[in-house]
Amino acid sequence: MKFSVRELVYVAIFGAIWGALELTVGSYLHVIFPPLADTFLVGLLMASLGAIVALIGRRFVPRIGSVLMISIVAAILKMISIGGVTVGPLVAILAEGLLMELGLIIARRPTRWAFVFAGALAVAWNFFHKFIMMYILFGKGVYEVYVGMVQQGASLLRIDLSYALLIIVILFLFRIVAGAVSGWIAWDLGRVVHDRLAR
């Protein structure tokens, strides 16, 4: 696939905006909520923001691979940041980019619903991220993460621990809905930005 100079510059800009949000908002939130204590809120918020930026980028660079390229640029910027290397967000950015790209390829045409689908796929990664990162970094098994997630979810949702499956389903659906809303917002904001530039 061949990108024009303009498209590559737009990929760079959206990658830089995603990277800048990770470096400012992301770092700030990770300090307030240390990663081990709360991956739910920070991860969900940053994944949603990233999905919005990357999907707006897709409206300006309507080519296969553009969202993935935006995520690669954002991940590298996060990697070379002064704050130091944090492996978790790096993996999350790349996985979200890949899933958004996959969603857009499956949907074929860039429509509002394609954006909703891609956004939901990307933010859904946040659910599996904890399992994978806990295995990679800490060697923890799926069961231990599951138990931790249920305990965290029970206190967050104020549901009894015995409803473990319900808690897991709610946590997963919450991410899907957040991602879908991000896709919906991205479609609208893309049009607003387009209109503002046309003035």
Binding site: A12, I13, A16, M79, V87, R196
Partner: protein, 241 residues
């Protein structure tokens, strides 16, 4: 031109043993072996990573002096005997688990190995070299995009902060918070895209063509291959043992 080639051309400047490919192999290799290594073997991976950093890129060891890192290590080491494994030790009125303590130690070692390898890669390989690596992997245009993004990052960060302060001073975040966040995002994106048009004009004026093949100036050196082979053997050994 790579650092490796630069140093070769300039007597008196320390020559790099590895090319950026070597540092990439090291990062990926360390991550893979740290994941594959179980229990005490992780400590050996960490020892190897620290040793490599000390020999070839000592500034990466500054990571060990970071407060945030110790804010992660100390609570993990202190909490793991309390929350992991079956309690088999009674100390200072606390029911502790030896298994939990060791599990915490291996967790920290694994996380530290990967973070140190990533830090080493980020320190050893400059942005232009990363762009060269991407071009070398036939990801045409991504190197150019990365260069533009790196140059634009400070401007975008400044735009975000200025726009945020302007909206905050006008009371934007007191009510309609979501609408304000959306407006902030639109302002930042529209402003950045307008600046991007200048970059496009400049690149086109210089007849930059992303479709034209760019020969990557980064090439593999024998030490890179030795490193890749070493990690390959190590990964297979960890899988088999």
């Amino acid at each position: 031109m790579t650092v490796w080639q630069d140093s070769r051309a300039m007597p008196g400047v320390r020559r790099e043993t590895f090319s950026p490919y070597g540092y990439l192999f090291f990062f990926v290799g360390t991550a893979v072996t740290a994941i594959l290594a179980r229990e005490a073997r992780v400590a050996l991976v960490l020892l190897g990573t620290v040793g490599f950093a000390a020999l070839f890129r000592a500034p990466a060891l500054r990571l060990l002096g970071r407060r945030q890192l110790w804010l992660f290590i100390i609570p993990t080491l202190l909490l793991s005997p309390l929350v992991l494994g079956e309690p088999d030790l009674y100390l200072w009125r606390l029911h502790l688990s030896q298994e939990g303590f060791w599990a915490g130690l291996w967790m920290v070692s694994r996380a530290l190995s990967i973070a140190l390898a990533a830090m080493l890669f980020a320190q050893a390989v400059s942005v232009s070299q990363m762009a060269g690596l991407l071009e070398g992997m036939r990801l045409r245009g991504l190197g150019f995009a990365l260069g533009v993004a790196t140059n634009m990052l400070p401007t975008i960060q400044e735009t975000i902060q200025t726009s945020y302060q302007a909206m905050r001073l006008r009371g934007g975040f007191r009510s309609h918070r979501l609408r304000t966040v959306k407006l902030l995002l639109v302002t930042v994106i529209a402003g950045s895209l307008r600046r991007g048009d200048d970059i496009v004009s400049a690149a086109e004026a210089r007849a930059f063509d992303p479709a034209r093949p760019h020969q990557s100036s980064i090439s593999l050196v024998p030490a890179d291959l030795v490193l890749a082979a070493w990690f390959g053997v190590l990964a297979v050994a960890l899988l088999l043992v």
